[in-house]
């Protein structure tokens, strides 16, 4: 045992020495190959939320226009810059940074690595930089449509929202849009909503709280639940699915595809088309037509899927009307 252990130590030691000289994959230096890197916000790439949507966009670019792709997950927000630089230093051409939290680091990196193009998801660009495109969304508009749908579906006159934390601006925008949308349809509707009481560390990863809270809302008459807040919101959706005659509305992506457990109640999702937006921007980069400043992505409701034939035509028409109204500015979310 002892000798074996010593051998192991020696082997490991040499491994460490040798591996220092590992070279990075150098394909990215070639001009014709477009390398796309993605840096997540704190969390994982498979979070069923914005990180995942953005990554799907990047993956789509690999499939359709042959980019070389790689992602880095951020565990510590202080590593934003480190992770971005890692791509830049390894000759990646496009770096996608996901989440408003990375905004500062992204613009800093953009100044430092001027030949790299950055796509900042959810990052509003107050001062445009030539190599940064901020992919931003009118979450309030998506929320507005969700609220309108909820108000039209509700029979009890009470609708609920289970939310992440108000420390994150998009969540607040979703919520406020949701409330105005519901009021737009029915001025007397009662909207009961709540933010997660914990801090950032837990607010988006507490499905149990989301589920309990949704139940609490349903028990007092709410018949539509809007879940907006990562897996916390998902908990609320799944809970609503286990009650009969209740509807729920997902958020960010078309959750019909990501959250099968919610199928019994999931009428639609208030989506931000992050995947499409990211893919589009990568395409632009490939074609050397990379925009700078703010690039507005699509928002709206996802398809109704199985609920398509259960939803009366007048609701669909009204939703289309609202969608157009929001687009041309005749309807305001506030």
């Amino acid at each position: 045992m002892c000798i074996l252990f010593r051998k192991l130590i020696i082997v490991l030691f040499f491994v460490c020495l040798n591996s220092v000289v590992i070279a990075a994959a150098s394909d990215c230096r070639k001009k014709e190959i477009l390398c796309v890197g993605l840096v997540t916000d704190v969390g994982t790439v498979d979070d069923k939320s914005f990180n995942q949507s953005a990554w799907e966009g990047v993956q789509q670019s690999a499939e359709e226009i042959g980019t070389v792709i790689k992602y880095l997950e951020t565990r510590d927000p202080k590593d934003y810059m480190v992770n971005i630089s890692l791509f830049a230093e390894n000759d990646y051409d496009v770096v996608v940074t996901v989440g408003f939290g990375l905004g500062e680091a992204t613009s800093q990196a953009a100044k430092q690595f001027s030949d790299v193009k950055f796509i900042g998801v959810d990052q509003f660009q107050a001062n445009a930089l030539s190599n940064v495109a901020g992919l931003i969304f009118h979450e309030d508009q998506a929320g507005f449509q969700a609220g309108a749908l909820a108000a039209m579906l509700s029979k009890s006159g009470v609708i609920a929202a289970v939310l992440g934390t108000n420390l994150v601006p998009p969540v607040v925008a979703f919520k406020e849009g949701y409330v105005s949308g519901a009021r737009y349809i029915n001025a007397k509707i009662q909207v009961i909503s709540t933010y997660h009481p914990g801090g950032l560390a837990v607010a988006f990863t507490d499905p149990e709280w989301g589920a309990s809270t949704a139940k609490q809302a349903i028990d007092q008459g709410a018949d539509v639940v809007f879940g907006a807040g990562g897996t916390t919101g998902n908990g609320g959706l799944i809970e609503a699915a286990s009650h009969s005659e209740k509807y729920c509305i997902g958020v960010d992506t078309d959750q019909w595809l990501t959250l099968p457990a919610a199928h019994p109640c999931l009428v639609s999702s208030a989506t931000k088309r992050i995947k499409e937006g990211v893919f589009q921007l990568i395409q632009h980069a490939k074609e050397s037509q990379f925009p700078s400043g703010n690039f507005f992505g699509e928002v709206g409701l996802s398809p109704f899927h199985d609920f398509d034939n259960k939803i009366p035509q007048y609701i669909k028409e009204k939703l289309t009307e609202i969608h157009m109204g929001l687009r041309n500015g005749s309807i305001k979310t506030k």
Binding site: E208, Q216, D219
Partner: protein, 330 residues
């Protein structure tokens, strides 16, 4: 004199419970639906805390601090979820979740009883391991075939206030109520419980009576682990229906507080867990009601309340005398 002290404390607790009851009744007549909703939510939120506290007190009554409840819950939640995905059999999934908790309990017992590692360290190892392993092996796209559904207990459900709150719940919630009583019975009315408490107070005395201290501690920690496993199963298989990284969110630690709040007794812990659940449900309700107070203030209320209560009159709780000290034979 000690007796008198207990009595006076009981008086305060009784008074407080009576007050809470009054408020509940008043609000029930004011708005029955909301009251029922809040109470049902409180019961539900208290379930993992109560189970965690039961796990903690099984260990501590036999002399082993278990600070790794969080990790135990997380790992069993994960395994239960995986099994549910693979087999689609919820009962089997719950059982494997419970078994996982027991196995982690065995690891904790091995560390703290056999290896005589510092017990807080052992628990910390389990916590980090829980986060690491579940984080590393979790894959997205796994979906369960549903979760445990409510079972209403027939006519009992029609009792006003109590019916909808107590008698229309999913199985693990019922099981928790039963377990609180069972653990109470076992601890205070069986020879096993007598020996367990004795081991936690004075292991050497128990050893000299020919009782195997190590076996007692092992068994209790493993059984406690199984209960923590049930708490984990509750999270994935009953409350949510899916797994998320870090989804325990500190409930294992709060369970410890609940256990101490409850003075190392099952029923006391259950009461404390209910209080916590009620606080969380109330703060949600306040937000529902459109309160404009920043939600952080409401959010920290239960914690502040605990500190005040601990400092005020539960401070001098008496833990099992031998808790935290590994036992060595001479």
């Amino acid at each position: 004199m000690f007796q008198k002290y207990i009595n006076s404390r009981c008086g305060i607790v009784r008074g407080l419970s009576f007050l809470v009851l009054l408020v509940i009744l008043w609000s029930y007549f004011y708005d029955s639906a909301i009251t029922e909703a809040v109470l049902a939510s409180a019961l539900r939120q208290s379930t993992p805390l109560a189970l965690g506290a039961l796990c903690g007190l099984m260990g501590e009554r036999s002399g082993v601090i278990n600070i790794g409840i969080e990790g135990q819950m997380l790992l069993s939640a994960f395994v239960g979820f995986l099994v549910s995905v693979w087999t689609g059999n919820l009962l089997f999934a719950v059982l494997t979740g419970v078994a996982t908790g027991a196995v982690i309990g065995l690891l904790l017992a091995f560390m703290s009883v056999s290896l005589r590692i510092d017990q807080i360290l052992g628990g910390t190892v389990i916590n980090i391991l829980g986060f690491g392993l579940t984080g590393y092996f979790y894959q997205v796209g796994l979906n369960t075939k549903g979760k445990l559904q409510s079972i209403s207990l027939g006519p009992l459900q029609d009792i006003p206030l109590l019916g909808p709150v107590l008698f229309n719940n999913p199985p693990i919630t019922y099981l928790t109520l039963v377990l609180v009583l069972v653990v109470h019975y076992v601890l205070f009315h069986t020879h096993w419980g007598l020996r367990t408490r004795a081991v936690g107070e004075h292991p050497r005395a128990v050893d000299t009576l020919g009782i195997n201290v190590f076996l007692m501690r092992y068994t209790n920690v493993v059984l406690g682990g199984a209960i923590a496993g049930l708490a984990g199963s509750f999270l994935t298989l009953e409350a949510v229906g899916s797994f998320e990284r870090g989804m325990t969110n500190g409930r294992g630690f709060v369970a410890l507080a609940v256990m101490i709040f409850g003075k190392w007794t099952p029923i006391g812990s259950w009461g404390a867990a209910l209080l916590f659940g009620l606080a969380i449900a109330l703060q949600t309700q306040l937000q529902f009601g459109g309160q404009t107070i920043p939600h952080q203030f409401i959010g920290m209320l239960p914690y502040l309340l605990t500190v005040v209560v601990l400092a005020g009159f539960v401070g001098r709780a008496r833990p099992p005398a031998a808790v935290g000290t590994p036992y060595t034979k001479e």
